[in-house]
């Protein structure tokens, strides 16, 4: 087990290193020069040279990658060039908002998904079970940004119940909560479907087992059998899914924030590509 864990962690480190190398080579492949993007079209060659030295872009490719990885290993993610603040600080400021959002989305999905799955399994092959099944597949299929747009349109614009943008005033928890509802709804809706399907499937398996039949033979009430005996076992695959799912949501949010800030050159080159004045020079 320990060996397996170490192997997985080692592999994860290798993947991060390869990803960083890919990103760095992209900065080099991009036809634009980060310095001319930052300094604008009127920069002199001397200014560009100075900025290159400042950002370490004049050093060989291997040295750049190695020195960046060395800094990361010591916990230093570097400075964001535009705001001149440490990248780690920007990332972690974003991270707690992201964490709250991810946990809120998954949280309400669990609260709704598990009872739905149990209900479906207990009343299997009935009309309402089929309805839950179609609902689950439906919410998994529909893109979450369409759900977000529709709920924004309905709850924020038409009914004006909830705010449309922002994260709320810091410190005012009710206000922050109101800002959280719509995005958490949009992200969590698909998860309701996933959880309900998974709980239903594993619940069906568990309900056929001997100890459940024994509990029934003893005359225990059905709700006690389902929620106290069967659910304890049936929940296990769902916990696994949630573990990897939450990890995935947070890590993709974290990774994208890190990469976003790290490679400001990349995202800014996009603006440069779109800006015809710069594009012509590339």
């Amino acid at each position: 087990m320990l060996f397996y864990l170490l192997k997985r962690i080692g592999l994860a480190v290798v993947i991060v290193v390869v990803a960083v190398i890919l990103l760095y080579s992209m900065i080099h492949i991009v036809p634009g020069d980060p310095a001319s993007v930052i300094l604008g079209p009127r920069a002199t060659p001397e200014m560009k040279q100075e900025l290159h030295e400042l950002m370490g872009l004049d050093r060989p490719f291997v040295v750049q990658v190695a020195s960046f990885l060395g800094k990361v290993a010591r916990g230093n993610l570097g400075m964001d060039f535009f705001s001149q603040r440490p990248v780690a600080q920007i990332v972690f400021k974003q991270l707690d908002e992201t964490l709250v959002l991810v946990l809120a989305s998954i949280g309400w999905a669990i609260l709704l998904g598990i009872p739905l799955g149990c209900y479906s399994a207990v009343f299997r092959n009935t009309f309402s079970d089929k309805l839950v099944g179609i609902f689950s597949i439906g919410v998994i299929a529909v893109p979450s940004f369409v759900v977000a747009l529709y709920s924004l349109l309905f709850f924020a614009v038409t009914l004006k119940w909830l705010p449309a943008i922002g994260a709320g005033e810091p410190g005012q928890y009710m206000d922050q909560l109101r800002h959280l509802i719509l995005p958490a709804f949009a992200i969590g809706l698909g998860w309701v479907g996933y959880i309900a399907r998974l709980v239903r499937a594993s619940m069906l398996e568990v309900l056929n087992e001997n100890h459940i039949r024994r509990a029934r033979a003893f005359g225990l009430p059905e709700h006690m059998i389902v929620f106290q005996y069967a659910l304890k076992l049936a929940i296990l695959p769902t916990v696994t899914l949630l573990g990897t799912g939450i990890g995935r949501l947070i890590s993709s949010a974290l990774v994208s924030t890190v990469l976003f800030v790290l490679s400001t050159t990349i995202s800014d080159s996009i603006n440069a590509m779109l800006d015809p004045r710069v594009r012509e020079r590339l």
Binding site: I137, L149, Y150, M273
Partner: protein, 281 residues
């Protein structure tokens, strides 16, 4: 009963699959016949009528440049279907070749390809898209490259696992003992055994791919204006969400119809063809 008749009979028996098939047919027909179905030129500007509500002339209203939303939505189905077919076919092809190489080839090749698969999968799609857009510029081709690069590792891993499982079977070992080369073993014996489940996974990937394309275009890193992608129609509508809700309503509707249709159809196909793939009862 012959094979096709039986297939349609079973599909007909599954109301969900039948419903899905109707939705999918709707999308495909609108993609094929788009030029005949549109009521206006999808790029024609009509500034006097900008942001007009739904009417007899403009069934879904007009956008901020006075373009007919209905015509744009119909033309958008071409982009969606085209992207879905091209990317799924390419990911399937690349995943098959690399996956079989990883599963059948030497150990170092397996390790290298696995590392490639895992690295590509660990990239968040959006970030990958942003990086590629800087290299190639935002275009339909870039969207296709992004989707293929992020989805073929999934097929690759699947093919690799199945190839490895098959490799130790006696009919493969016997074939090798008789001196069959790698191409013969992979092409004639392994490929037919793994292709079936793969097609089902591919059909279920179509709605995902369409969602990614629309998502990227919605974020502005996908198809360039004035090409009417459903994502860019939603992006146009998002700017005017407070006053003109119909652009978002009608821009999102085809996405919902398409994803629901392909998903329902895919689920039923899986149940009909391969009950073993069905993890949940």
């Amino acid at each position: 009963m012959n094979w096709t008749k039986q297939f349609f009979y079973r599909l007909y028996r599954e109301p969900m699959g039948f419903f899905g098939m109707i939705l999918v047919a709707l999308v495909i027909v609108s993609a094929l016949l788009a030029p005949f179905l549109t009521t206006h030129d999808h790029n024609a500007l009509d500034i006097a009528n900008r942001l007009a509500g739904p009417s007899a002339d403009h069934w879904m209203g007009t956008d901020q440049l006075g373009r007919d939303v209905f015509s744009r939505v119909v033309m958008g189905s071409r982009i969606a279907v085209w992207v879905a077919l091209v990317t799924v076919a390419m990911s399937l092809g690349i995943g098959l070749v690399l996956g079989m190489m990883a599963g059948y080839g030497p150990k170092w090749l397996d390790a290298a390809l696995l590392l490639l698969f895992d690295t590509l999968r660990s990239f968040p799609t959006i970030m990958f898209a942003l990086a590629l857009v800087t290299v190639f510029g935002p275009s339909l081709q870039t969207v296709i490259i992004v989707i293929v690069a992020t989805t073929f590792p999934v097929y690759g891993r699947m093919v690799r696992t199945q190839t490895q499982a098959l490799c130790n079977n006696e009919f493969i070992v016997a074939e090798e003992a008789m001196g069959a080369g790698m191409m013969r073993v992979l092409g004639i014996h392994i490929l037919p055994n793994i292709i079936g489940p793969l097609f089902i996974v591919a059909s279920m990937d179509i709605p995902v791919v369409i969602t990614i394309e629309a998502g990227l275009s919605f974020l502005g890193v996908g198809v360039r204006p004035p090409t009417p992608s459903w994502g860019s129609i939603l992006n146009d509508g998002y700017a005017y969400i407070r006053n003109t809700p119909w652009i978002i309503i009608f821009g999102g509707l085809p996405l919902i119809v398409t994803t629901l249709g392909f998903t329902f159809l895919g689920e039923s196909l899986r149940d009909i063809f391969d009950p073993k793939l069905r993890k949940d009862l």
